[in-house]
């Protein structure tokens, strides 16, 4: 039995799942195959989520530590000595360690939390449930995807405990700094481990993405045409495509860097004199690395934000009790963003000495991408208009996301203009911009998703009141952190500075930095409201009803504790799009996707009839 289960879990549940009285009775396999080496997409999703949460707490702790340094440069930090040991020297943070923390904060948050934690969790959890599939196309690859991620996590975590410290050249690891161990302590073993960890991470990401794409294309239930997919699935689908196309480029960049570091090649190195020694490397180009890095690096921000936008689209529609406004335009803008995300990368490089003509081209392309983004924002607002809005914590976080997406996205218009970027590049203005538009927005999408689908994940409800408190503290907190940063950025404060006191120009704004740091630390601690709520509710939360948010999508037709295979008996068929909320003439303010038009004659619009039952009924039906 166990071996059959391993190869085709879906079918085994299909045949054995008829008498599904107790939720736990029919889960076969040992603890090891059920919770650790599981091939069930729901368990893998939870594994990604909990790993992501652990990483997020670590990433947040790091930011609190370096914010202490930035906000209170004169502070005596000896109290942290028991934790940080030698990195505190005479009560002061070591500048090298400061950079290491900044680097690890970026790496952790971008890759381990917002890529693995967000896509890994929700693509895995929602794709089969919302398209009507028993599991992913390949449960085995899916399991491998998590365990490659786990191995990558272990390596990255380990690198923080070695004597020379983790990588410290910024999350973008530009060579030659990252290529030359003699350039800084973090470029030694720490950097090697960073590169190998990222290589494993890329494998994990690719395994996941290939699975997501093939599942969405091949495994939709009967009637689930592409034009009836919830926007979440559209977003995950395109995110996976971006990942498949861009992560291999980062892999190649990392590989060439590994060659430069270990095999004496000169892909990125040329004419270097360091520590009293002229290196033999000639003819390489550090700019080449930047091109390769940002060819992933820019799509990466869409890998991070698109799933969050997908989740938000769903949650806003459900809780406004309205169809999402402009469903097709939303899909169109996701497609446009996907396409454009590959041809804007060099806007990170306006002042690298790249040919200014290229700068002009990339300025033009960059500002085009603002158009689909603007369409999305306007569509969210219109969805709220004349809705009947229920403020679940998930809804609050989704509205928060739209706000961050707008305020962070707008400053992108300034940064995308190469003439303005000369002054703003690598200042706190950039930090504020991307922390709002991709950091906080994607984080809010992830949190909204947790609040919204928690009942489906654990069969219990999270505490709403704690959720409200969590939202308002975080929302106010994040604006208090990042809004003022724009102003320090306009004043020219450069990023990744351990201290500003060396400069006359940057001596101002001391109070503001202290304020930002205080807000950051309070906001960080507010996140424990979520952590507490999450773990408490897994065990003690109120039992969830079948469809707590009165939502249309397929996942709410599964049992409260869906087993492996998701549905008992046949997978339900789909007859309509997922956004029939508050349809005129309908009894309830929602009609689930599984309800045929023949049962809703009072509310059907023109042309809404069930397809004639034919075995060959097409899957692609518009």
């Amino acid at each position: 039995m166990a071996s059959i289960e391993l190869h085709n879990p879906a079918r085994s549940v299909d045949t054995h799942g008829h008498d599904h009285h107790d939720d736990h009775e029919h889960e076969e396999g040992t603890f090891l195959t059920k919770y650790i080496f599981s091939q069930d997409h729901k368990v893998i999703a939870k594994q990604f989520l909990i790993s992501g949460m652990i990483w997020a707490i670590l990433g947040g702790t790091l930011s609190s530590l370096f914010r202490l340094q930035l906000g209170f440069p004169d502070m005596d930090m000896s109290i942290l000595k028991p934790i940080l040991g030698g990195w505190i020297e005479d009560g002061k943070l070591n500048p090298e360690f400061y950079l290491a923390m900044v680097t690890m904060h970026g790496t952790i948050m971008v890759f381990f939390v917002l890529t693995a934690g967000l896509s890994g969790t929700f693509s895995n959890f929602l794709i089969p449930l919302q398209i009507g599939a028993r599991d992913m196309a390949s449960g085995f690859l899916n399991m491998l995807s998590y365990w490659f991620f786990f191995a990558s996590s272990v390596l990255m975590m380990w690198s923080m405990f070695i004597e020379t410290g983790p990588a410290s050249g910024g999350w973008v690891i530009y060579p030659p700094l990252s290529a030359l161990p003699q350039a800084s302590p973090g470029s030694g073993t720490g950097m090697t481990m960073w590169l190998f960890s990222m290589a494993l991470f890329i494998v994990s990401s690719l395994l996941g993405s290939i699975n997501y794409v093939s599942t969405v294309i091949n495994m939709r239930t009967k009637g689930m045409t592409f034009s009836r997919l919830p926007l979440t699935i559209w977003a995950f689908f395109f995110t996976a495509i971006i990942g498949i196309l861009s992560f291999p480029v980062l892999f190649s960049a990392a590989l060439l860097l590994i060659f430069d570091r270990s095999l004496g090649t000169s892909f990125y190195l040329s004419e270097i004199y360091i520590n009293g020694e002229a290196l033999p490397n000639m003819g390489g180009s550090p700019i080449l690395f930047q091109h390769l890095f940002w060819f992933l690096g820019h799509p990466e921000v869409y890998i991070v934000i698109l799933p969050a936008l997908g989740i938000t689209s769903e949650i806003i529609a459900v809780n406004s009790r309205k169809p999402i406004f402009g469903y097709k335009a939303m899909i169109g803008s996701i497609m446009a963003i996907t396409l454009l995300s590959f041809i804007v990368w060099a806007h990170h490089m306006f002042v690298t000495g790249m040919n200014p003509f290229l700068g002009s081209i990339f300025m033009f392309l960059t500002l085009i991408i603002a158009i689909p983004s603007a369409v999305k924002a306007f569509n969210y607002i219109t969805t709220l208009w004349r809705g009947n809005i229920v403020f679940t914590p998930a809804m609050l976080f989704s509205i928060g996301l739209v706000s961050f997406f707008i305020s962070g996205g707008l400053t992108g218009v300034a940064l995308g203009n190469s003439a303005i970027d000369i002054q703003l590049h690598d200042t706190y203005f950039v930090v504020a911009h991307f922390h709002l538009v991709m950091g906080s927005a994607a984080f809010f999408g992830m949190v909204a998703g947790v609040y919204h689908w928690f009942p489906k994940m654990f069969g219990r409800m999270m505490n709403e009141k704690l959720g409200y408190l969590h939202f308002w503290m975080t929302f106010v907190g994040i604006y208090c952190i990042f809004f003022p940063m724009h102003y320090t950025g306009i004043a020219g404060f450069p990023r990744r500075y351990y201290s500003f006191t060396t400069y006359d120009t940057f001596k101002t704004f001391g109070d503001l930095n202290a304020f930002i740091s205080t807000a950051a630390i309070i906001t960080f601690f507010a996140q424990f409201l979520l952590v507490f709520n999450f773990f408490y509710s897994i065990f003690r939360g109120r039992r969830a009803p079948l469809n707590p948010w009165r939502s249309n999508t397929l996942e709410w037709t599964t049992p409260i504790h869906p087993g492996h295979g998701n549905w008992v008996g046949e997978i339900p068929h789909v007859f309509r799009w997922p956004y029939d909320y508050s349809k005129p003439g309908a009894e309830e303010d929602f009609i689930m996707q599984t309800v045929p038009y023949s049962e809703t004659t009072s509310s059907n619009l023109e042309g809404e009839v069930d397809p004639v039952e034919e075995e060959s009924s097409s899957k692609v039906h518009a």
């Binding site: 369409v375 004043a491 303010d589």
Partner: protein, 362 residues
Amino acid sequence: MFYLIITALILLLVVAGLLVRAQVLIDIFTKSSSKRAGLSNQINGFLFVVFLVFIMGGFVWISIWARKYYLPDSASVHGVWTDNQFWVTMSILSVVFVVTHILLFTFPYIYQFKENRKALFYPVNHRLEFIWTVIPAIVLSLLVFNGWKVWSAITKEAPENAVVVELVGKQFNWLVRYPGKDSKLGKHNYLKTDELNTVGIDFTDRNSFDDYMAGEVHIPVNKPVLFKIRARDVLHSVFAPHFRLKMDAVPGMPTKFWFIPTKTTSDMKTITGNPEFTYEIACTEVCGPGHFGMRLKLVVDDEDEFDAWNKSQQSFLAKNPDYLKSVPDNLRKPAEQSIVENRKITGLAVLKTLSKSVAKTN
């Protein structure tokens, strides 16, 4: 201490658990949990309006309060152009920011859940979508067009007569080389770098004979200045905030940035009312633990001051005649000559400044 913290944390968790439990019980007794949306819904809706006031108030307040710090007066010709771009763009963005947020935060209040109301089934409106695709497209095109014009003007070739300064980034300071009397920088070769010849001047090129190194940057006001930028070890980036100037320093790939400074250091002292004012160059590409300390002083002189300063600088060869050894035999003579000449000029310059100060004291 450690156990105390652990105990405190556990106690905190227990208390939190009890509070949540109590709150849930209250919900059950007051039956608020059986309603689809109760008092909390109204409170949340209202809080969005409060938040709207908070964020708009904060936006206006900080923009006014912080004005004395941000975007200091531009001291270059192109800086005025980019500042204009910045303000125009920011004004448009602010309008969009305010309008969208008013809608985004008042809609939740106005359209909060009411049992007897049904939301409007409003899935699509092509005209609306067309409008808000086209309007941003037009506005963005205008911004791009203007940005492109300014960007092209900034990045075009420097004028022939530009004063050339070479800036070389290394861990963790900047090295400054001037072309000297002939206004031509000598070639460099990184293999020739050593303790003294920090930028690897190549003495097989006769243009290098009168090159000199300086501890700070001096440039003349109202004259085009061309920074030739290099890096010796890792990436660095030249950032002169007052001149709206930034360009990466890349090992193996020389970069450049030219500009026209419009305000001397003493002008700025009057404008800012700060007698200690100095222009500064900072590094904005992370380059290792000393990254935050790569400060380089920059002085904008009027033309006479600059001339005098320029002439008073001793050339590298005059300072370190040992390096005559690296000059090829056929060029040894001109090299020696240039040392003599340089010593004459610098001597004269020193005399001139001396006599000036004597004249002043008299």
